[in-house]
């Protein structure tokens, strides 16, 4: 069971302070992240941009509780999840219930149909099959892919697959979604459609969404952008261009 260490004053989104990550030790040690600070509020979509090797993926893995930071502090939904070690004993449950993932390629489970790809997460969280499928269908309707609910993944277009992967990320109503280059394989129109959907979902479900991207097409859509270089982040205001 998770043991919450609530801080009522803290934002309900995701908040990190002084987060560092060092790989290796001694002369060969590499500091991939250096005192990174970042805050994302519920309902907000921010961009995390930077060149290759700047530390984007390392930061994403730390935020996703996949690798352990070396030091710093992370809170999620007002709860401290990392400070001199993980504060949540069951990281698997943390990832399942409170963090959504959207990848560059959709990485859907090819042997499950569209509905079950989305329903799998609530099922893993212990919800009944019927409740999980009802929730999945609701999300698929919201994302305008309900008509492919019984389709196999291989029958979907790239855009449809990405919508299904967004539905999967939202299936357990997580407070944060980490999206790793979600528009990279898409053309401009579809990339902007994905961003429109992410913004819509962030508002609708009050989810904080962090989008790691290189994609010049979508960078103007962010209201806030974190630039990361050599393991350090710099925050700047984005254009926040409306997506039609």
């Amino acid at each position: 069971m998770m043991e919450p260490a609530m801080e009522p004053a803290m934002d309900k989104g995701i908040h990190i302070e002084g987060l560092s990550k060092r790989y290796g030790a001694g002369d060969t040690a590499v500091d991939a992240l250096k005192e990174v600070n970042m805050s994302v509020a519920p309902g907000e979509v921010i961009g995390l941009v930077g060149p290759s090797g700047s530390g984007k993926t390392t930061l994403l893995k730390c935020l996703g509780a996949v690798i352990e930071p070396t030091r710093g502090r992370m809170t999620l939904g007002g709860e401290v999840i990392y400070e001199q070690g993980w504060k949540i004993p069951d990281l698997r449950a943390l990832r399942r219930d409170r963090i959504g993932f959207v990848f560059q390629a959709p990485y859907l489970i090819p042997f499950l149909d569209v509905t079950d790809n989305v329903a799998l997460l609530p099922m893993l969280a212990g919800r009944s099959n019927s409740e999980s499928r009802a929730r999945a269908l609701e999300l698929l309707q919201t994302l305008d892919v309900a008509h492919r609910a019984r389709a196999q993944i291989s029958e979907l277009s790239g855009g449809e697959q990405q919508r299904v992967s967004i539905a999967r990320a939202l299936a357990n109503r997580p407070p944060v979604i980490l999206a790793d280059e979600p528009t990279a394989p898409l053309d401009s129109e579809r990339a902007l459609t994905v961003m429109r959907i992410l913004n819509q979902m962030a508002r609708q479900y009050q989810t904080a969404i962090i989008v790691v991207t290189h994609d010049e097409k979508i960078i103007p859509t962010f209201k806030r952008i974190y630039h990361i270089r050599d393991g350090r982040t710099v925050e700047e205001a984005g254009e926040g261009r409306e997506i039609s």
């Binding site: 996949v66 698997r92 990848f103 489970i109």
Partner: protein
Amino acid sequence: MINLAGRDILHSWGKFVLTGMGLGLLIGVTLTMAGVYRGMVDDAKVLLTNSGADLWVVQKDTQGPYAESSSIKDDVYRQILGLAGVARAANVTYLTMQVRHGDKDERTMVVGFEPDQPGEPGYLVAGRRLVRGHYEAIADVKTGFRLGERIRIRRHDYEVVGLTSRMVSSGGDPMVFIPLKDAQEAQFLKDNDAIIGDRARTAANPSLNRPGVPGLLDAINASQSSNRNVNAVLVRVEAGTAPDAVAKEIRRWKHLEAYTGTQMEDILIAKLIATAAKQIGMFLAILVIVSAAIVAFIIYTMTLGKIREIAVLKLIGTHNRTISAMILQQAVGLGLIGFAVGKIAATLWAPAFPKFVLLEPADAISGFVIVMVVCALASTLAIHAALKVDPAEAIGG
């Protein structure tokens, strides 16, 4: 909760079923090997049962007539008939030899027997019993001989007048039954050239061809060209008499060896086919190891093909036990398909084997359990690989 293994199998059922069929053929070979051994044991038991004897009397210090050669005089049976508790006693000969059938040779065991005595075929499936004293034969259907056909044994032709079945030697050779006198001749009589040579040598020997003893040379020649040997005497004891007791008397007073049915079964199964059984046992062990290696390789390869999906499953919070269960269930599923295919294949091809293949239900049950255990063990390699997958692989970088 969704059954991930079942969904994966349904998703790629063609590949899964084809893989299972390949494994099934290997399992079929394994079951058949066990069936070959069972067939050998059954052949040995049928040989004893069909002989209709309670005791086998053979040459002293031998384990004849099947496992070793044995030669005793053909009048011994009269002495045995005189023993208390003996109901019937009859001479028999056994000789494994090539029988000429048309333009090819058939390997058979030629049995010499006396009609209506122990040693004759228990039943016929076609034709009649022997009614003439010479040159008639009853053959097992496995010889391929047909009623009315003529076969050649040594220098005489025999007419096939009856057919029987499940009459085979412990080596699986089908039997051909002929009159005892013919069989003695076939087994012991020398060829004409050898007889002529012996007669010339005897005539040239002054001590055997004395001018003052008329008839001596003829008597010696007759003795050399006739034969009074058989391989065994088959004995049936009276109701209520213990075969062991009669066997003991024969050993004590007749200076012959006598085996009961249990002892003869032990000789045939524990000694005669022991090497063949070990050979088959080695094959079975190798086949089980090969099957296990193949299942392990298939499941491991299938799992490696799903590394990205497994990483995603782990990233989104799937328990290791769920992933392990998925791989285990697939391995067991593969084993189930393989066993079903193997059992069907073995059942279909067993009758085509030249020797009797006996597929026992108990062997099938044991085989099923072994296949399931082997599949479960073989899946551990793939489970180990899956559990080592880092969920971070789904994120990349």
